[in-house]
């Protein structure tokens, strides 16, 4: 029962420390036309290198590019597909963070890889494997506005978003991505649609090649869906334990054939968890998980925290694992 340390997904792109505001400044200058797109990209790349090394330095086994180039989890991928325009701001679940809402105006069509170069460039500067993050087709569909007569409802959108994700996953797998995380937070708010997500993941999984697929849910209680999720065609399941009092007992009771990403560290609060809040759950749950490797991670992406606290959370996660491994 290997337990790896993984960054969940996003990471703060600026900080309050020396030199950590350069992306914010460059962004504003780029918008005003004072910095070229090429120079702006170079600054983004340098920030990604910095935060990939920051994660590795904190002791993580698996890092992400921090989604530094993403405007938000919805519009970054959806907005680069044919047939999709981007609209105004919409609150992202119960956070104080806002996404830009996709408007589907024509047939959703994937014409070329969207995240491939982002993955390659991050992996090239990372001393650790880079996990790729993709927002899943159901969540993309739920956040989209339909303005095309081609689509009548969310399931029809999901079918074509799935088609796009199949091609993206195939390209990523061929490029060497070993772990691809598909995020479906919306499913927890519409549990009746879990079957739709399962069908989508079956199609996406058919193109993954040798990559492993991890289905991540957060911002809601996954316990009511836990048994059903064990039947999903993915290699691992990621859970946000901060929303679910019953989940750890449920996993302990039912076990898991799949690997689990244990989101036990709160990614939305600056308070550092006490060891006694985390270790008993790890000791209880992990022996019941057959899938391997499992991951210790935060409950969600870390962009909801300031940079200094996000880094401390990762360091703290490493300390928790050391304590866990040391004493068992």
């Amino acid at each position: 029962m290997a337990l790896l340390l993984a960054n969940h997904s996003s990471y703060p792109r600026i900080g309050d420390g020396a030199g950590q505001q350069r992306l914010r400044r460059a962004y504003a200058q780029h918008e005003r036309g004072e910095v070229t797109s090429r120079d702006f990209e170079a600054i983004q790349a340098s920030v990604i290198q910095e935060i990939v090394q920051e994660q590795a330095g904190a002791g993580l086994d698996l890092v992400t590019d921090g989604q530094i180039r993403w405007y938000d989890p919805i519009s970054h991928f959806a907005g680069r597909l044919d047939g999709v325009k981007i609209n105004g701001l919409l609150r992202f679940f119960d956070t104080n963070f806002y996404i830009r809402q996709p408007v589907v105006v024509d047939r959703i069509f994937w014409k070329e890889p969207i995240l491939l170069e982002e993955y390659r460039s991050a992996q090239a500067v990372s001393p650790k494997p880079v996990k790729v993050i993709l927002t899943g087709p159901y969540t993309l569909g739920r956040f989209s506005i339909i303005e095309s007569s081609r689509y009548r409802d969310v399931p029809e959108l999901v079918a074509d978003y799935t088609e796009a994700l199949m091609k993206e996953v195939e390209a990523l797998g061929k490029a060497g991505a070993t772990l691809i995380q598909i995020e479906e937070p919306s499913m927890l708010h519409h549990p009746g649609d879990a079957g739709l997500v399962k069908v989508a993941l079956t199609r996406i999984g058919s193109r993954k090649g040798s990559a492993r697929l991890l289905l991540a849910t957060y911002f809601g209680d996954a316990a009511p869906l836990y048994e059903a999720l064990q039947g999903f065609p993915v290699d691992g399941l990621g859970f946000d334990f901060t929303y679910s009092r019953g989940l750890s007992d449920l996993i302990t009771r039912l076990g898991s054939d799949k690997a689990i990403a244990l989101g036990l560290i709160d990614g939305r609060n600056t308070r550092m968890e006490r060891m006694e809040e985390i270790l008993p759950t790890l000791r209880k749950v992990l022996p019941k998980v057959k899938g391997s490797p499992s991951y210790l991670t935060t409950s969600c992406g870390l962009e909801y925290l300031p940079r200094d606290k996000a880094y401390l959370k990762l360091k703290h996660m490493a300390a928790v694992r050391a304590e866990f491994v040391g004493r068992g």
Partner: protein
């Protein structure tokens, strides 16, 4: 019922009273002064003089436009939660957190017992009310929103943080009432984000308002109101101000299922749009609300604070709003 309460408080308002949600755009000289103050290039007194000047401008402007219940415009605030958390012991400011795009803010952290430090808004209310004979609303951010928009390193859970904040915020409400405020608006934009937490948000509102002689308005926006509507009627306030002018909610159906029992402030101006609505557009929105509730129960306002608009846009929008409301009053024979 609530109109009788207003009368008992000595407030006599026309039907379809017009008001604003709270914030107005800051004039350029004040934006510059705030930037200089942040860099310690000017003294606090110089900044406050300009904040008073800008408050005076907005009181005069609201009177000229013809609004019935005025606001101070929040010239002294940057952010609706940060303003209070910077004054209250028990809070620290975090590093920068992204809100969207290239926008970042310092999110408060609750690090100890939150304490009321003495009046935080009363001086500004007194100043604004001293400039006009029309009623000026007292304006506060509610405990649920302060809790939800802060990190919590001190209280064991969200409920206890919210209730502790409510006890402190009540002191501010009491101070406003003592100073003479008759209408007090409590802003709770976060109210609907976690429907399962609404019971303790209501409990907290009881702590803030119970037994106090004022007409309370609760402003909420960004709402998943369809899921929490029936429970919202339990909030101990007189008026619910809901950002619903552009909502696709079937209010008719919601109101049929659970009859609306309070006054309703209807947001009829889209504060996120640069476009200045015509009086006809505003009129259509008011008429839609009049299909749901009697005119005696409706207040008319923008759907949120106008601070993100330019001064000219904000004024243009308010002129359309007041014009439409006055016209409808005349037609109803109740000018």
């Amino acid at each position: 019922m609530s109109r009788a309460k207003l009368k008992s408080l000595g407030i006599d308002l026309p039907i379809l009273p017009t008001s604003s949600v709270g914030s107005f755009p800051k004039p350029d000289y004040l934006v510059d002064a705030r930037a200089k103050f942040a860099k310690a290039k000017i003294e606090r007194k110089e900044l406050e003089d300009l904040e008073r000047q800008a408050t005076g401008y907005w009181i005069k402007t609201q009177e000229e436009i013809g609004l019935d219940v005025l606001v101070d415009g929040e010239m002294y605030r940057g952010d609706m939660v940060a303003y209070f958390s910077e004054l209250m012991p028990g809070f620290e400011q975090s590093g920068l957190v992204r809100s969207y795009g290239n926008r970042y803010y310092h999110k408060p952290i609750i690090v100890g017992e939150a304490r009321w430090p003495g009046p935080m808004t009363v001086g500004w209310w007194r100043y604004a009310q001293g400039l006009t004979k029309r009623p000026v609303k007292g304006m506060l951010t509610g405990p649920y929103t302060v809790m939800d928009w802060s990190f919590n390193e001190h209280y064991p859970d969200r409920r206890s943080a919210c209730l502790a904040l409510a006890r402190e915020i009540r002191h501010e409400v009491e101070a406003l009432v003592e100073a003479g405020a008759k209408i007090i608006q409590i802003d709770e934009p976060a109210l609907s984000v976690r429907p399962e937490e609404l019971p303790f948000a209501i409990e907290a509102m009881h702590v803030v308002t119970d037994g106090l002689p004022a007409y309370f308005i609760l402003h909420a926006c960004y709402g998943a109101f369809d899921t929490i509507y029936s429970q919202m009627l339990k909030l101990p306030v007189d008026n619910l101000d809901l950002a619903i002018s552009h909502s696709t909610l079937n209010l008719m159906e919601m109101f049929r299922r659970d009859p609306f029992t309070k006054d309703l402030s209807v947001g009829v101006l889209d504060v996120h749009s640069h476009e200045v609505e015509t009086p006809e557009t505003v009129r259509t929105r008011i008429e839609r609300a009049l299909q749901l509730l009697p005119k005696e129960s409706l207040w008319i306002d923008p759907d949120c604070g106008l601070k993100t608009r330019t001064v000219e846009e904000a004024k243009g929008k308010l002129i359309s709003m007041v014009g439409a409301a006055k016209r409808l009053r005349v037609e109803a024979g109740a000018n």
